[in-house]
Each structure stands twice: as C-alpha cells, then as structure tokens.
C-alpha cells in the first residue's frame, strides 16, 4: 500500500524543551492510525506540525508523496488534510450552521463575492445530521455541551472535504454512548468515503474498535508501533504510562 502521509525525522524544540525528537511514522492509504502517549508526550505538537501551525526544526512531512513541510496551513487543507482541536474552537458569535459554512466557502475572493450564500446548505445540513447535530443548526456554541462542541469540530473538519482527518482527543469528556456513536460515524465515513484518520486519545477503549495500527510516543520520541492488542501489552509502553 502507498503511504498517504509520512513524517520523516521530525524534530521540534521550544526553547530548551525538545517536544519532538527525530520522530518518524507514516499512515498508509485506507488506514486509521492511533497516536498515543502519556500527557505532554508531543501528540498535539505532531498535529500542529502536520497542519503547519509551526514548522519543524528539522525533518519533512510528505502527503501523497509531496513535500508539504513549507506549505501554509490553508493549502494543506485544500490538499485534503483537516483537523479537530483538542479544546473546541467554535466561532463564538456564529450559529453552528454558519460556523460549518466557513469550511465550505470558495478559496478566492471573486468566488466568495459571487457565489450564492446558500450553495452548500444541503451539504452542510447532511454533515451536521451525520455527526448528530440535526435540528440544532441555529444554536450558538455557548448553548451546546462539550460533547456537542466536539461534534461541531468534527463537522467542520468533514466539511472541508478531506482525504484525511486528524482527530485530537475527540472522545474526551464524552459518555460511553456518545463515544460509540462517534466511533460508528468514523467507521462509516471510512468505509463509504475512504477517509483516513489519525486519532489521538487517552481513552484506549474508544480507540480499540477504530484503529488498525497504533504509534506510541513518549517525551517526543518514538517508542513502539503495532496492532492495538500487541501495543497495550508491550513492556515499553506499560513502562512509559506507569513510570
């Protein structure tokens, strides 16, 4: 199988702190990758570097075989990478419908000026219903629970028409039933639309039905990779988690 996303020897330092140290991993086409590690191990930093929020001190990111290390964020999104934020970041003065609509507007000024505001309404409604927010289109973020805000994050990512979605702690603070729902949706998206995911999560149980392979990092360093069952029994991983 071809590699969809590849990180080659990523190093990122913040002052004296080495957040990521020569980290390499890849995601194959059609694969769902779990990215786990104890608190502060650099999982979110990995996402920030893949999205281009900041550039690595050394190393390269390849997407569909192209070097994207120096591309601005919005171009990466247009190529098909989308993300959700660990702490949801909705636009506070917009309804969730308007919020998701921002992800569908034309990238050009002329396009934005001339296109009808309603063009993608049906698409947006479909996505919001898919993530379980049907009938709540005109609510504002402050009226929603944390679980629903995470759904909005997911809807925004899906609305960019991605090839691959980076999910940052999408299960945190959700009930067991909600987690099952999201799992089901992600598996459905994967099967129907061929989306790939990288999932960061503390909740290993939520990951289990979803991921094909897990990469474990600790203090920004690669520790182990392999199928879920093998990883949770790995001595090095246990040591990293339990100290």
């Amino acid at each position: 199988m071809a590699k969809l996303l590849e990180a080659q020897g990523i190093t990122k330092k913040f002052g004296g702190l080495v957040a990521l140290n020569d980290l390499s991993f890849h995601v194959e086409e059609g694969e769902v990758l779990g990215l786990i590690g104890p608190n502060g191990s650099g999982k979110t930093t990995v996402f920030n570097i893949i999205m281009g929020d900041f550039s690595p001190d050394s190393g390269k990111i390849l997407f569909k075989g192209e070097d994207i290390t120096n591309l601005p964020t919005h171009q990466r999104v247009r190529m098909g990478i989308a993300r959700t934020y660990q702490v949801p970041r909705p636009f506070k003065e917009m309804t969730i419908f308007e919020d998701v609509r921002i992800s569908t507007v034309s990238p050009s000024i002329i396009g934005c000026l001339t296109e009808k505001v309603m063009v993608y309404d049906a698409v947006i409604k479909k996505i919001l219903e898919d993530v379980g927010l049907g009938g709540r289109f005109s609510m504002y973020p402050h009226e929603l629970t944390m679980g629903d805000l995470r759904r909005v994050e997911l809807a925004k990512a899906l609305a960019t028409n991605p090839r691959m979605v980076l999910l940052d702690e999408i299960f945190a603070g959700l009930t067991v039933a909600e987690i099952e729902e999201i799992d089901k949706l992600l598996i459905q998206k994967r099967e129907e639309e061929g989306l790939d995911f990288i999932v960061v999560s503390h909740d290993l149980k939520a990951l289990a039905p979803l991921v094909d392979r897990v990469v474990v990092i600790h203090f920004g360093q690669f520790i182990a990779e392999g199928p879920f069952d093998q990883i949770v029994n790995d001595e090095k991983v246990k040591k990293a988690y339990l100290g």
Partner: protein
C-alpha cells in the same frame, strides 16, 4: 432623502454633508477593523495620504509651477491610489502583529505621516499650517449635499454587498479565531489583504473629496485625536462589522455633537459624547445595530412569531 435640502435649513444641510463624510470614514474603518478585528488607530493615515496627494497636486496657490497644477479629476484618483498603497503598508504588520500590537503599529503610521508632512518640503505640504484655498469640486451647500450623499451611498452599497457575501462571513470569522479560519482551508492572508485594500480605497475616496469640500487641509485636525476617535466611536456605537451601523453612527455623532452645543459648554460636549460612547461599548457592545436587532426580536417574540 434627495429632496431633503428643499425642506431643511442650510445649516442642517451642511451638517448632513459632514455626516456623510464621517459615515464614509466610519464604514471604511468598519471594513478593516470592525470585520477582521484588526483595530486600527491609524485610519487618518489613509485619509490623510489621499487628502495630501490631491491637495498638493491641485493647489493653485502653492509653490509649484503652474504647469504642475493638475485638475481634480486627475488628482483625486491619484489620492485614492496613494491611499490604496497606504492600505498595503498597513497590511504588512498585520501579518505579524495581532491585537493591541497591530493597533500600536497603526497609530505609529499616523504619527509618522503627521511628522513627515512637517519636515519634508514645507512649501508643498504647508508644514504645520497646512494647505488652504484648495479648489472645490462643487460650490455651495446643496450641490455638496448631493455629492457627499452620492459618494456615501456608493461606498455604503459596495461595502454592504461585500459584508453580506461570504467574504464578510470569512472576515468576521477571522475576527473570532484567525487560526481556525486558516485550518478551514482559507487563506486569511488573501482575505485580510482584500479587506485592507477595500478599506483604504474607500478611506481615500472620502479623504480626497472631504479635503476639497473643506477647501483646506490642517494637519493638526487631520491627524488629531478628535478626528481619529470620531471615526472609531461612530463605528463602534453604530455596531461594528455591520456597515449599516457605522453609517448611522457617522450621522448620529455629527448631529449629537452639534445639537449638544447650546446645552454643554466647550469641552463638556466632547466629554458627554465620550461618556455615551463608553456606556454603549460596555453595555451594548453591538451598538445601535444590536439594539435594533434585539428590539425587533423582542417585538416578534411578544407577538408570538419566534420562540426562544
């Protein structure tokens, strides 16, 4: 509104002209700052650029040789072009400096231009005393009323159209969280640049015509705090990010300042309106536009049309 000068006294007509220009400046400020959240304290920099370019080039009483005096239909567009260039200068720091840092840089631009007209070639810029006896586009209060109202409508309709389109939505999203907009696949760079350019062009149009209406250009006024704050306050009390709000704010401010004149002495007038602005910002941050919106909502709820 077109027949209005027939019914109102000439003084009020003049006030309407001032109101129209302040409305243009407030809407122009709103395009840049109200929409994107990059609060500019240097809008008179853009207005002043356009005003100085057209004033210097068309100044018959100036020191330049007569063959260098250009007609206004050349100098006013040149002024607008200069303002557009100034807008792009504004855009540069906006890529690095956000929030209060951008505001400070924009203020620095204003101070810079103010100092610049003092030191370079005072025979052209008029130095501290400024330029007087500039040519007028049209003479008299009533023709000026139609001219300013026409300009105001053109600017208002143009900016309102942009604000209502998806461009407006993107700009307001940039105000709320720029990084997230970028992560939605939109080049915030491109949209900010457009907003800044549009704001600068409209500021230039207003600035060029305004200085010919006043027939003078006094740096202490043009770059002074009062004028600067009038623009911002008109926009804020009208309702930032709405275009219609700042338009109303421009007229409101002009009229309230004038009609407070008999009751409040000297600086008390300015104090009173600053106080009013402060209250609106604190208790009704969405300005008059927000007050009207809430009013309509309340009225509809009372009639049972909308629930919640």
């Amino acid at each position: 509104m077109c027949a209005l000068p027939l019914f109102i006294p000439i003084g009020v007509t003049r006030l309407m002209v001032m109101g129209s220009y302040l409305a243009i400046f407030a809407m122009s400020w709103d395009m840049m700052s109200g929409h994107t959240g990059y609060i500019s304290f240097g809008h008179p920099f853009l207005i002043g650029l356009a005003a100085y370019v057209t004033a210097i080039l068309s100044n018959q009483g100036g020191f330049q040789p007569p063959h260098l005096v250009l007609p206004m239909y050349v100098t006013i567009p040149l002024g607008v072009v200069a303002a557009a260039g100034g807008g792009m200068l504004f855009f540069l720091p906006s890529m690095r400096a956000r929030g209060p840092y951008f505001s400070l840089v924009s203020l620095a631009f204003l101070v810079l231009l103010h100092r610049l007209v003092m030191v370079i070639r005072p025979e052209f810029t008029g130095g501290d005393r400024g330029l007087v006896n500039l040519p007028s586009v049209v003479m008299g209060a009533i023709p000026n009323y139609y001219l300013s109202l026409g300009l105001m409508f053109v600017v208002a309709i143009g900016l309102w159209y942009v604000s209502r389109s998806n461009v407006g939505s993107v700009l307001k999203a940039i105000r709320m969280d720029e990084d997230v907009v970028e992560a939605s696949g939109i080049s915030t760079y491109r949209f900010k640049r457009f907003a800044f350019l549009l704001s600068a062009v409209t500021a230039g149009i207003g600035g060029a015509f305004y200085t010919h209406y006043l027939a003078s250009l006094i740096p202490r006024r043009a770059f002074g705090m009062t004028f600067n704050l009038d623009i911002i306050i008109a926009s804020v009390i009208g309702g930032m990010g709405t275009i219609v709000g700042p338009m109303f704010g421009g007229y409101f401010l002009t009229f309230i300042l004038e009609y407070l004149r008999p009751y409040l002495y000297g600086q008390w007038r300015l104090f009173a309106y600053a106080l009013l602005a402060l209250f609106i910002v604190i208790y009704r941050p969405r300005g008059f536009h927000g007050i009207v919106q809430d009013g309509v909502k309340w009225f509809r709820m009372r009639r049972g049309e909308v629930y919640g």
